[in-house]
Symmetry: C3
Subunit: 349 residues, 3 copies
């Protein structure tokens, strides 16, 4: 696949500056450019690389002002970052999709398989399971009995979908992710704990993407529910009975304890912890490593463990370093004040 | 499977209030009740749902006082939460267990397989491995050479039991969990690190449950040992040479560094970290995201990173938000005191 | 395999003290010694066990002074810890390596397989993939299309190497680890997020070891790169476009966000978090549960979240417990000072 600067400009409604016949067959970061590669420049921090890059074509913002001559051919567009995302998507969509059902897969006779499905070697499709059209099931995936996956979804290697669980349309599940393991529920008993069976399910709505080795537990009753368009990074833990609103994004290693309700359009940084049985509003932002212990209304920016409003946290964090000085000053003040009182008392005697 | 209110009451030694012939075939949360479903009410926070629920039968505590008429048939029991656990267990036990050995599994000729074992497609049982009676080995599980699993255990999809490791009776290992990967041991050398071989094993005693993608490392020598009845949630890390006492419970994403000794009947919240080479007493409680850096005696409730007695932590946490004010006040006090001293000095001159 | 004290001493250039014919066939911790076992004593904390151990041979440091008679035969060496590592490595190297290609593996006809390779049952080797000489591929491993693994590497059960990714020579990947899942990149759009395709790769240089269920994401363009000799423990997350310098070590459950650059010869404790787009110098030490939010020069010891120089953190951590007292004292001082001012004012009226 080779594209010329004028073809790219036509696709992106941009303007060529340089050789319209310059052509590229791959992508590269601007600081690692090579002849035949397309790069982009969006963050002004990287401006200096524009004048040194070996890339043949660079996408730049329409309003960029050049400070030196440039060897590469430029394509000026409204928004270089969005444009590169469009080109990458185009590039991806031109790759041939995996197709066909491997004779090495184990597919139950009672399973329902849609049109143009890919099922790789050693995949297991359980009894009464359903796979939608054009969905791709990579090697070693297990779809449990009675589980279902919608259309146009992509389940990478070693994904487990437990019995009865549901995956929507256009979902992506990365390698090793687990949907529907038992929620963590035990009743204390005399000789040890008794397991509380988890007879509910776990469900991903449409357009959900979950990262490698991420776990979404099945509920005790009813369902654990991950809303439409939610994106979970790698190694995330979603406890049983949790509900996550639409288009919420959680970075790697975040954890949500059982029965928490998370709002829509929220963003959670890496390694965040959210307590069980609480409710969070929509449009919440929460910084990395924070711990949210109670219900919070939406629209806030939270930080810290326990989490607090970001501005309060920032001020406290600065002063934390000054604590030893504060402690010393406080002790000195006490002494001084005591001395002063003694002086005054003396004077008045 | 359909049950009437009087059958349920008989099983639980409860009393019917309403239609003894009311029948159910499924379970539902009280706030999501549907006709034909059984719900329970234990937490008073949810009392209001009792008067609106569509569930046909609701289990309630014997002493609940009704404030309005109720449409559902009630079954009054001593403890509604324990009773629902009993019913769920009954329900689960009536499901047919998976049985039979898939012709698609790879089982070493030297392995010993017990009675009524289930082994799913693409499972691998290594040389001299042993599987106890009635144990269920799901698809894609690997049991390494010389490893053993006791009776009545349940190993879900993609579980790995490394060579020589041991799983007890009545254990549950969820999808993707790993028993016996190498402990993290390296000796610094000139050109890099040299690996210290980990020739010990990892062992789960009876009645242990470990969550999806949880890892328990093998020891350098001897064994890493997870005691009887221990429950580990998803994505937990247990380092090499660690020992965990009976019936201890650890929530998701907790981590225990090498050679730590953890007591019995303890509870650790999510994302807790425990340092290596320390000893913790029995009946310890530790809040989420805490970090325990040194040995601690049992019977305490710890919180924070570094962890401290919970009451001290709670008071410090409140004051952390006031730090900026404290800092300001301290500076003002210093000024005031200096001014006062100057005044007094003047007066005395 | 049985060895005598004189054989061991010859191998380690040590001296026998006791019976040169004493023989051992296994290893044991000194506190768990049994007849026929070899133990070592390095940490003085464990000295007392020397006089009670049932082990037949104990490696000790050359300068150890005995306080009582010892039943075991001693072998005195320069460094008992390094010596045991050497013996363990010797012991490991004598185990027969797995060999041969299972007829139950699925290997693409276009793949290139080196000499003396082991490929276990149900492994999948994709189109145009390359496996180097003597490399061992355990059951259920997937090597994606166009991916490559060097020579003398060891990939345990359920490892996933995504398409196009690269593993060096002498690498070890533990069970369930994932190389090359998509980086977490999305562009906000009106109805939800749009995925930014991740067309780069992830690469492990030579001598890298990564732990069970650890994830290293592929980059948007170019590569995510884990340098020579790096050791990552279990459940670690490495985001897209990250670069890690040589011989850096990261303990379990650490996380590195996208595009961070980590130096060489650094050590990170468990559950550490590192923000994206920052640069860390070489020889950095960072304590467990710390959070590094900005670029830091090398050679430091950091601690806390947000991370600070270790000494400052230690002092602040001590005073954090005193915060409630400080707060109370501050309020008292304010009152006293006000009272004092009033007194003085009165006196001067």
């Amino acid at each position: 696949m080779e594209f010329s600067a004028e073809q790219i400009a036509a696709f992106l409604q941009g303007q060529v500056e340089g050789d319209p016949k310059a052509s590229v067959h791959t992508f590269a970061k601007i600081e690692e450019g090579t002849p035949g590669a397309l790069s982009f420049l969006s963050n002004p921090k990287y401006n200096s690389y524009l004048y040194e890059t070996e890339s043949s074509i660079v996408l730049v913002n329409r309003d960029l002002v050049l400070e030196h001559p440039v060897k590469a051919t430029l394509v000026r567009v409204e928004n270089a970052y969005e444009s590169i995302a469009k080109l990458l998507s185009l590039y991806e969509s031109m790759k041939p999709a995996k197709k066909g059902i491997s004779p090495l897969a184990s597919i139950s006779e009672s399973a329902t398989i849609g049109q143009d499905v890919y099922i790789g070697p050693f995949a297991v499709i359980g009894d009464n399971a359903r796979i939608g059209d054009r969905t791709q099931i990579y090697p070693h995936v297990t779809i449990g009995d009675g589980a279902s996956v919608g259309a146009d979804s992509l389940l990478y290697h070693h994904v487990t979908v437990y019995h009865g669980c549901k995956v929507g349309n256009r979902c992506i599940m990365h390698a090793g992710s687990v949907l529907g393991a038992d929620g963590f529920g035990f009743a204390p008993a005399e000789g040890g704990y008794e397991k509380i069976p988890q007879i509910g399910i776990a469900e991903l709505a449409d357009d959900v993407e979950i990262g490698a080795n991420t776990c979404v537990d099945r509920s005790t009753m009813g369902r654990t529910f991950v809303g439409k368009g939610v994106k979970l990074d790698n190694l995330v833990q979603i406890g049983h009975n949790v509900e996550i609103g639409e288009n919420t994004v959680m970075s790697a290693q975040g954890g949500v304890a059982g029965s928490a309700k998370i709002g829509a359009w929220s963003m959670f940084g890496g390694q965040v912890g959210i307590a069980g049985h609480i409710t969070l509003g929509d449009h919440l932002n929460c910084g990395a490593q924070s711990g949210i212990a109670g219900s919070e209304k939406g629209g806030q920016t939270l930080m810290g463990s326990p989490a607090m409003e970001h501005r309060i946290w920032a001020r406290s964090a600065i002063i934390t370093k000054k604590l030893p000085d504060m402690y010393r000053e406080l002790q000195e003040l006490k002494k001084e004040l005591a001395a002063l009182k003694a002086t005054i008392k003396e004077q008045n005697v």
